[in-house]
């Protein structure tokens, strides 16, 4: 308690100062407010009178209440704590063996917090006032940039290669089988060919000899014969040609019916 005495005069002075502006908006919390109040004592924070500070803070809160200013809860919590601290500072120290911390220690801890806040504020000030990139100092306006050219290194394994080859060949081989379409002579084709040929031949001729040109493979032979025979029957009906067959599976004979030759009876042809 004795340690606090030298500051009594200061406390009075501080108390007698005109009341503060009740404007809590400008403060970043109770600690900020306390720091501001402490600065008004115009002494080193190490030598601050915590008791005076507590009084000032409590007076501030009182004033705020008087004008019915809404205060954030943490301001009130701090007020309650400071009221407690104040009472501890004013009352005689409890016996040494008590579990409660000494009032002087509590006061010192508060002073330390204020000093710490002040110190970090000073540091923050110095930090943000350094020459800053994009505000005070600048990097090159148009750097060419360092390019890394990516050169592809193609990778494939022999397995990939063989697999790809076999798969393609197999696919192609199988698709050839399925896609192979049968050659079919249409009736119209057969008739066209027959009409062209009978114009020049008036003698009996085997049908196959008309068709030598088209009978190239066994497969085509079948379709050409079938279609030609069908077409020839149609042309016989129209009286354009005559056909005859001497025996089953024998050659079929064909001859054109020239316009001036009188029409043979149809039965003759069969």
């Amino acid at each position: 308690m004795a340690a606090e005495l030298p500051f009594e005069t200061e406390i009075d002075k501080a108390d007698s100062e005109p009341s503060f502006l009740v404007d809590v908006d400008g403060f970043e919390g109770p600690l900020d407010l306390l720091l501001d109040l402490a600065r008004r004592q115009k002494v080193d924070l190490a030598k601050i009178s915590v008791l005076a500070l507590a009084n000032q803070y409590l007076a501030f809160i009182e004033e705020a209440r008087r004008v019915r200013l809404e205060l954030a809860a943490d301001y009130l919590v701090m007020a309650a704590w400071l009221a407690y601290l104040k009472s501890r500072l004013l009352l005689p120290e409890p016996p040494k063996n008590s579990n409660e911390p000494a009032a002087a220690d509590l006061a010192a801890a508060l002073a330390n917090r204020l000093r710490r806040l002040e110190a970090i504020r000073a540091a923050a000030e110095k930090l943000v006032n350094r020459p800053r990139l994009g505000r005070d100092v600048f990097t090159r306006g148009s750097p060419e940039g360092l390019a890394v050219l990516k050169r592809p290194e193609w990778q494939a394994s022999i397995y990939d290669l063989l697999d790809a080859y076999a798969r393609q060949r197999q696919k192609a081989a199988l698709s050839h089988v399925t896609l192979k379409h049968r050659v079919v002579w249409s009736l119209a084709e057969a008739r066209d060919a027959l009409e062209r040929l009978v114009g020049v031949i008036t003698e009996w001729t085997t049908m196959d000899s008309y068709l030598t040109e088209y009978l190239t493979t066994p497969e085509t032979r079948r379709t050409v014969r079938a279609s030609t025979f069908s077409a020839s029957l149609e042309m016989v009906r129209e009286g354009k040609i005559e056909i005859r067959q001497d025996a089953p599976f024998a050659n079929i004979w064909v001859r054109g019916k020239s316009g001036d030759v009188p029409k043979a009876p149809e039965t003759q042809a069969a």
Partner: protein, 242 residues
Amino acid sequence: MAETARLAFAEETNAEAIKADQLREACRMAEALLFAASDPLDESDIAKRLPDGVRVTDVLQSLRGQYEQRGINLVKVNKKWTFRTAADLSWLLSRESNEQKKLSRAATETLAIIAYHQPVTRAEIEDIRGVAISRGSLDVLMEAGWIRLRGRRKAPGRPVTYGTTDTFLLHFNLESIGDLPGLDELKSAGMFDGRLPPGFGVPTPKDDAALAEDEDPLEGGEEADLFEELGPVGPSDASEAA
């Protein structure tokens, strides 16, 4: 005798001349690289592109010296090198168009606390300021790329620890975190006792990628999630941060 001595001397000076030539050429190369690069270059990246037989540190020290008095300077930030305009010419170059948003007081103080006390938890920041940090302050600092989530404190609740980034050093022209202004004053003031946990009291800021003894790593992908989890930015926060 005299002859051999003379020859040896001649050889020596010759070797020195060659070495000087080599250094000069390496300087040209480093210079070109640093000028062309759009970001600060790692010493090792520069070394890779320099000819064998020259030490990259020699080259960079020499270059830094050559540019010391010029309108552009070579600066080192956490082992990375970059050219910058000289700080004293800031008046000449300030661009209005490029004006940066002024940091709020809350954001400035939060940044300073993170810078000087890192690795530091949110609760510790709030303890120093005596007030809760708004989401907006952390958002702004995170967005600027100046702070990052480092890990989790090995303590009840495993709170996230914050630290600064290389971008922070770059932006504030600091060669390393040890160059923070006023660090000595803060240390000698010895005021980091108070109610902070033991071990927090010695303010040697660390922005090592390596975690501190009392830090655990963040889990994979946690970083993004964590930041999200801080909650949406409210209008009041945003206005404070601006």
